[in-house]
Symmetry: C2
Subunit: 623 residues, 2 copies
């Protein structure tokens, strides 16, 4: 069975709510210009071709950074005209086009430094990964501006790749050590509808993990040992077995979920049941054994990847920004296969918490790692030798509207809330939808439907898993939520008239979350959540205490405060707990005597690390 | 400053209380005969010399097993005449004497199999360790029977060792890879008062860890690589640096604490302040960072040794019986340096819990590893290729009276309770002491002093650290406990008349113990203790539940029951808790909803694994 739902493009979504509007504007006004300066300063992006070349390994993937920046900049251009930015984008696009070889090959580092080595080491050189981000940039730029300046060289490059890779005597039967091209080609296919593009994505997905192993064969061709490489094992590359036989999440996490998203995309386009089944098994493994309460994944610093099941350390977490973004991208694709709240709940969780934490409030500082606790001294960086996290969160926020809505033949689904509007194509009719809310700070959401004329269709409204006791009123009349729930979505099928209004109310008490008993790092601890937001204790809000020295009794009454003085206005969470005994250092065992009462105050996790380099904690100790 | 207190020998102590009396009688009647059969069957002990020889590595230390069995049998002979056992002991002693070489060397495996290799690999061959246990057996046999049949060949062997090792051109400047000889020689010195014996112990202690490293030199002499050996690093052997510079517990735990005990012994005999200081620093490290709540040590299965600080896993614990016994032995020596409750508290904890768990209730089955939780399927063994744990717990229980009392010039200290009596030499006068109690089941202890005539001296009575609100009455009159406490001992100095009676009362509520927050394996969990006993949940007492699925609320009222139907009469501990949600497997995060109320029943930890192979748990989850 083919895909049922199609996401509504970022370009068709206008986010008016305060929450995302502010982040999108910050990315446009501050992040994108700052990143261009940083990329230019570090030689990762070049307005002119043929200037001084760089030879480091990280430079090999510079086109990926350039691509992600171009992608973010394209989204920004779509949201607001900006001639200076348009000029900058055009200069870089033109430089890329000028650098392209006659046969279509387009990797600026290899062209400048090692043209003869191109496509000789797919395992380690990440050329296909760099290509992927040029493709994504080309598509975004075309969607945002309608111009062909970037997509034309990209299409030429894709033709070259299609001629180079595949089955057949004159082709290389390889695939990239680092994934990305699979999802990028699917995205290109959505715009071009050229089957060649989807076939190429399918080839890369299906070839992966086949034996004898291409990475071994190309190593032998180069005269290299087959066993010595950075990734160490093919599990790290998710290339240990054919992907549709994979059912356990292994290896580098950001790359894994990017590939899982591409698998879900292909499963939907082709109606591929075995690929869908693999996605479901992998989803089950990741979300029930490897995911942080913030939606982050990739716990292990050793390989920036998945650890053992339930191995989710707090301070030592890797939990990369890009991996959380990848979770949201994967969830978005799973939702096209099946409208099921569990996918949207994780998408929201990852976006509003683990991913968003990667960008500072001021828009110019970044976290690559997003641990759930800090002993202090952790500072967001202005730039990083691996800037992927920075460019990735910029392009994601700039296009976050693309996660909100999806259409099917028979209706329109709303996955996320936060003040968005769109005009969606439902069965050939343009349906306007305007959502008004201050979500996630408040749980009241008003949705006005605007078909051009009265039309019968279904509106599926996600009732978040955390929203116990949610209510809905249609034009002021209460409707039965529980009775109309389809896998967590309130399904409202009726003849909709222009101006029909649904008001949803999601109660947002502060809830306390426990972890599976096998998560040792969360044993005896509780996480505070309100709505989709995970909260954390920071020293700044709890002066005189260290977060790990604060204990919360099981039944503590939690209160909320609207704090306009913090970060432009947020809701904080408080409760009365106690200070832990502080003399443990000389005592391995003893009673946890009742400590001095004190108030614990928590802020949304995504805002941590913006005020100082103090300690932080998500999993609060229970008394 | 030299040692202040001297332990009262096992031979002078009669344990009448039900608790130890039963265990000692079980060891005498069941364990010692069963072990002799097992040792003979596996060729580790031989009533006649020159029978079939064995060549495995484990056989190299068979004299250590023989020595520990002879030691246990000697204690049994002291407690009760047993002509058959005496004949068996004599036959083995005679066989050892017959095997001894003319120069005094006495290792039956090397004599039979590889005489030319003797003393060529001190690092790996454990000859000095085997010698240690022959020495301990010789001393015990002499103390128990007054006979010289075993101690004479031992003394001849010690002369040979003293001629072989030490400084000087004609000597080997080596020491044993596996410790034991240091403590054994100190014990021999206590009986012989021959300075040569203590000098040799001091030599082995001081030579250890000196550079250039003897283990390297002897490897070069053998023509071996210096770097490939079982222990892998000299830290594993506590030979990485001079022992008096060591302040962190590293390596194999049982061997480490045996050495620390020898260091404390030597510090006391010689008034060696720097050695005492090293002992104190190591004690601090072990007891505040590496010790289980049961008194067990040696958490790591990798090296049967100390892990990282606070690394105290439950199901995966190594926690060897012999290491817990070593803790008690070390504590006993620390108490000779300084009468301080913290040493006696750990001694009691290790003896009554971690060590005692090594012997089954029926006396013929053993645990070598003593984890704090079991997923089920763990069965005590009748015999083991490394039977050290079995012979070690037998000799320890058979001589447990030796841990109870100590004398100083000015008085008599009582470390442990449980119905013991002794006649101790205090400043040259014989002082009788008879303690009556059903401790540890009940906290009321009556002590009658019986000097031959009215005598002024001090009685130090340990008030256990757990005994909050302890009271004392002398001849019926209450006395101020807190005001007369010296480092946790109630110091009663007065003119004692024959028949003077002190009645101590130690309240024994069920207490709940928490671990240092860095002990992840105990986070959100509580251990139940009553008096000196640590309790555990077993499936047998909690039908229909798995121990790790039971939650105890923080304020749960705990009750005790005298259960004459269990293990000859014990006290169990119960409280009302809840059954945990059982659907975690498909849910990584969620509320810990209030479960079905249920009663939790716990038994003393030392008795676990005697009824079935069900699950067991010490650290109970808190709700």
């Amino acid at each position: 069975m083919k895909r049922r739902f199609s996401p509504v493009s970022f370009a068709a979504v206008d986010l008016r709510g305060t929450f995302w509007r502010e982040r999108i504007e910050t990315v446009r006004a501050r992040t994108i210009p700052a990143q261009l300066r940083q990329l230019q300063a570090s030689g990762l992006i070049e307005p002119k071709p043929n200037q001084e070349r760089h030879k480091t390994d990280l430079q090999k993937v510079r086109d990926a950074e350039a691509g992600r920046w171009l992608e973010a900049a394209s989204y920004a251009l779509a949201s607001k005209p900006d001639p200076k930015l348009a000029d900058q984008v055009n200069a870089i696009a033109d430089a890329l086009a000028a650098a392209q070889l006659p046969d279509g090959y387009l990797n600026t580092w290899f062209i400048a430094n090692a043209e003869h080595e191109r496509w000789t080491n797919l395992r380690d050189n990440d050329e296909l990964y760099a290509a992927a981000h040029l493709i994504e940039a080309g598509v975004a730029h075309f969607q945002a501006t309608g111009e062909r300046r970037l997509i034309d060289p990209v299409l030429k490059y894709v033709d070259h790749i299609a001629e180079t890779f595949g089955h057949g005597e004159d082709k290389k039967s390889g695939y990239g050590g680092r994934q990305g091209i699979e999802l990028a080609l699917s995205r290109l296919y959505r715009v071009t509808r050229d089957e060649k593009h989807l076939d190429l994505a399918a080839y890369f997905i299906d070839e992966r993990g086949r034996h004898p192993h291409y990475f071994d064969m190309e190593a032998v061709t180069r005269g290299d040992e087959t066993e010595h490489f950075v990734g160490r094992t093919y599990e790290e590359h998710q290339a240990h077995r054919r992907v549709r036989l994979q059912d356990k999440a292994v290896g580098n996490a950001a790359r894994a979920v990017n590939m899982y998203a591409a698998m879900a995309e292909l499963a939907g386009e082709r109606g591929d049941a075995s690929l869908k089944r693999a996605c479901e098994l992998l989803w089950e493994d990741v979300t029930t054994r490897h995911m942080y309460v913030t939606g982050a994944i990739g716990a292990s610093r050793r390989n920036e990847g998945f650890g053992a099941p339930y191995e989710l350390p707090n301070t030592e977490a890797h939990a990369e920004t890009s991996a959380a973004i990848g979770m949201a991208q994967w969830a978005k694709r799973m939702l096209t296969l099946e409208l099921d709240r569990r996918y949207a709940d994780v998408m929201e969780l990852a976006l509003y918490n683990a991913a968003l934490a990667g960008l500072s409030f001021d828009g110019t500082h970044f976290f690559r790692e997003n641990p759930l606790a800090s002993e202090g001294g952790q500072r967001r960086w202005e730039w990083h030798p691996c800037p992927e996290a920075a460019t990735d969160i910029a392009r994601t926020i700039a296009s976050v509207g693309g996660f909100f809505y999806a259409t099917a033949e028979e209706g329109l689904a709303v996955h996320l809330y936060g003040g968005g509007s769109t005009i969606a194509n439902v069965g050939g009719r343009a349906i306007g939808l305007t959502e008004t809310s201050t979500y996630p700070w408040d749980g009241t959401v008003s949705i006005v439907l605007d078909p051009e004329q009265p039309t019968e269709f279904t509106v599926w409204l996600r009732i978040p898993g955390w929203a116990e006791g949610a209510t809905a009123r249609i034009n002021g009349v209460g409707t039965d939520v529980a009775g109309n729930l389809e896998r967590g979505y309130l399904a409202l099928r009726r003849l909709w008239h222009p101006g029909d209004t649904v008001v949803l109310h999601f109660p947002m008490p502060v809830t306390r979350v426990k972890a599976h008993p096998s998560v040792l790092a969360a044993a005896g601890r509780t996480a505070l959540k309100r709505g989709p937001l995970v909260y954390c204790l920071e020293e700044a809000d709890n002066p005189g205490a260290t977060p790990d020295g604060l204990l919360l009794p099981p039944g503590a009454r939690m209160t909320t405060s609207v704090r306009d003085d913090l970060f432009g206005g947020i809701v904080t969470v408080s409760g009365v707990g106690t200070m832990s005994r502080t003399d443990w250092a000389h005592d391995l065992y003893g009673p946890e005597a009742g400590g001095r009462p004190t108030t614990l105050t928590a802020i949304p996790y995504y805002l941590w690390g913006n005020r100082d380099e103090g300690k932080m904690l998500v999993w609060v100790r229970e008394s």
